[in-house]
Structures are given as structure tokens and as C-alpha cells.
Amino acid sequence: MGLEQFKNRNVGTQNYTMLDLGESPKTGIDKFKQITKRTFNGELFVGLWVTLREMGGTLFGNKLHTIKYPFEKLPISPRYRAIHDMLRLLESGHYRCIGCGLCEKICISNCITMDTRYDENQRKEVSEYTINFGRCIFCGYCAEVCPELAIVHGPRYETASEQRASFSLFEDMLTPIDKLNLQQEYDGFGAVSPNADDNIKQTPLAY
């Protein structure tokens, strides 16, 4: 079933199907007939059968719905905005962040703080990078604005902490270098669309 039926707010234009409930009995003999009919048509046993069927399905048919939460987790949407991850370049293993400072600038709750300096090759390197998750509202602007897909939202949604301000350092969020082959590309907010290659147009040299 699509959502179109629910989005239609023109009340009165829909085709409603009325249930055939019949008329409630008036006289005593009609009431008696209704009771007798309801007693013997076995609806209660249909109810019993439904629960027994579900029990069989749970025990033998793999229809269980319980997720043993701390031990098992449901997959979450790639667009879910949880605790941030810092990704690395796959070839060199160097972190992707170029220290442009856009995420710090766009952060509407002012929770990202970063400091950069020039390294010996005159490249920007990140010397300080913290996110205060006590302030972060997980709006996703930082991931959206990042030109290098360096800061993204990861799948860690358990954000309980012992104190209100809980800072996360750059190294905490960075993909461990030995787990580089497990690094997942981010599909969510701000990521390159799947048909990005098709949308690229050649720039005329005359520009």
C-alpha cells in the first residue's frame, strides 16, 4: 500500500466501504437468536487457533520478532545521523580531512572546534579537532558541507555518557588504520549521489 491514500486530505471524496454490521436486535427472541448464533459459530476457536499458529511459527517457523538488543542490533538506514566518523583515503591511508574549517563554520550549535597548522610539506594538517557531543544536535550539516567526505555520520547511535559535555577527539572518530579495509563509504546526507558520474558536464575551455 502506498502513501497516496493517506496523503489525500480531501475528506468526503474518497470511496469508503461500509461494514455490514446489520441492525442490533430489538426483541427478545432476536437477541436470543443472535447470542445463539455467536455462541456456536466458533469465533473463539479462531482466536485460539491464531495464537497457537503464532506459537508454532515462533518456535519452529523462525517468525520471532525479538531482537536481543545489547547483543543484536537492527540495521539502521545509511542516512541515519549518529556519532560522527572520520574517514581515511583508501589508497594512502592518510585522513581525508584537509583542514578547510567548513564544518566548524557551519556547525549551528558550535560544537566543532578545530585548529590547523602547516606541516613540513606546507600542507594543512589537523592539530586539534574535537566535537562536543553534549552540544551536537546531529543536524548533519558538517557531513553535508564537507568537500572531501571526510566527516560523516557513522552507525553508533548509543550516545549515553557520564557527563553532559562529552568531547570526542579526532583520533577517536578516525577509522583505525588497521581496519581501513572495513571502512564503509557513507551513503547519507551530503554524500555523492549514485549517478554522480552521469551528472558531470565537461567545462568548456573558453570559460
Binding site: I35, L44, G47, L48, V50, T51, L52, E54, M55, G57, T58, L59, K63, L64, H65, T66, K68
Partner: protein, 343 residues
Amino acid sequence: METTLVQNLPEVTAAGVIIKAIIILAVISAIAGFGTFIERKVLAFMQRRLGPMHVGPHGILQLVADGIKLFTKEDIVPQNANPIIFKVAPVITAATAFIALAAVPVFPDFTIPNWIPLLGGVFVPSIAADVNIGILFVLGMMAAGLYGPLLAGMSQANKWGIIGSARTAIQFLSYEVVTGLSILAPIMLVGSLSFVDFNDYQAGGVGSWLIWQQPVAFVLFLIAGFAETNRTPFDLLEHEAEVVSGYATEYSGMRWGMFFIGEYANMITVSIIAAVVFLGGYSVEGIGWLTIILKVAFFFFLMLWVRASWPHIRPDQLMWLCWKVLMPIAVINIVITGIVMMV
């Protein structure tokens, strides 16, 4: 005090009865505790859940954890409650439930082997008190057990408790007639109130079970039994969605636990009565006592099954059902049974 079976057996001594009483108390309490675990598991499976899983393998030690919790919880007597009645009420429920079990055949009889010191040679009967009005005694005791919820609800100075005890009163007034009248027809057929006579009457195998002669009485007794044990279609006394916890609102810890044990012991008692009176009871030959255990287990499962399946009804619907539907059917059943017996 004489029944047909007892004549062939060794003499029942006071020591045997005391041992039997201790066995019933210990085993039924344990089964009642285990019944809560089974109930949670069965309800969970019927709702596609797992139920208790973390304490022990598949949560089987959950009842130990529950027991520790119940025993160590603070015992609270509300400020405006009547403390004496408040403390006595749960004892009434638990005690009457176990007293009712005294006249019910639970487990086979056996003689303690002679090599055991002190108690060697003592004959332990299958019925602790083999009174010749067994059914009457058991039903009366279970009915007296409703004084527990009644007094508990009235003594605790809580409006939900008052509503719970009011519902106890009307439930009691409703089902008790049906229980008595429904079981009267089998009693007329057998001509005795002793469980042993009922068992002997149906000794001829499945074909001689009373359920084939008295199907209406069986259904009526089952319905009344569900009301008697406060099981789900008739769990008006403590229905959480309506009256918080009814008569048990102010109870905590082991006092509440006694209500719980009483309820589960009553479930077992009703299951045993239904099995003995209508489904042939136990048999001495063949797989013997396993048959009644299977029958009792089926009735116990039926109570959980019904709880998972059916909605519960309003108090006025219960009165309507019992007085306007079930009681006339029971009376008609008795009249027809009497006519058939006379002709």
C-alpha cells in the same frame, strides 16, 4: 471415610498424612513458581517474543530471581490500612488454596522403604485427606479462598482495592452457582462426591470418560473454573488496565507473592478436578500417573492459551453470562440428566 480403593491399601497413619502434606506444599509451591515461568514463556511465544532469556539457560532461573526479589522487597503496610486484616488476607488465599489440595489426588501413593531410618515403612497416600465429600470440600475451600481478595481490597484504604474487592464479590456471586450446578450432573451419574469413586467410574478407558456423557457440564465447569481462578476472560479482580491491580494494589513483596502462589495453586486444583471428574483421572495400569499429569498440564496450558487469545469481559457481562446463560443451561442439563437416569 471409606472409599473403594482405600480398602486394599495399607493403613493411613498420621505420619503419612503429614509427609504427604509437606510434599504437596513443597511440590505445588515449586510448580506454582515454575508455572509463572511457563506462563511468561507461552505468552511470549504466542506473541512472537522470547520471554525471559537472560537468567540461566533460556531464562529458567528467572523464578529464582523473582523469588529473591519477592523475599527481599520491602514489606509495606499502608498508613490507613487495617493492618491485621491486611496481613491476614494473603494468608487466607494461599492457605485455602493448599487446603483445597488436601482432598485432591496429587501424585501416586507409595510406601517409604524400610531402610530409611525413623520414617521407614510409612505409607504415604495419594490423597492427604480422603474425605468422602471430596468435591464439595475442594469447591468450598476454593470459594472460601475468595475471602482473601475481598478482605485485602477492603482493608488497604485504596480506591482501586475497594473496586477490586467489589468485583470479587460479584464474581463470587456469579460463578459459584454455575460451578456447583455444572458439577452436579456428573455427581448424579456417579452417585458419590469422592474423587476416587469418580476415578473408578471412568476406569474403562477413553470411551467411559464423563466428558462424552456430560459435554455441557464440562464446558460449564471449565468456564466457571476460569472465573474461580481469576484467569483471563474473567480476570476482573486485578485487571491492570482498569483498576491498577485491583485488590493487590497495595501489596508488595512476599504478601503479594502469597496471592500469586494461591492463584497458581488454584489453577492446578481446578485442572486436577477437571481431569479427574471429566477426563478419566489417573489410571493404575499402563502409563499410570503420567496420564493425569498430561491432562493437568493440558488444562494449565489451556489457561495460558486462553489468556493469550481472548479479551476479558466486563463485570456486568460476567454476571449476565453466569446468571442468564450458564445457570439456565446448567439447570436444563441437570433436568435432562435426571430424566435420562430415571428412564
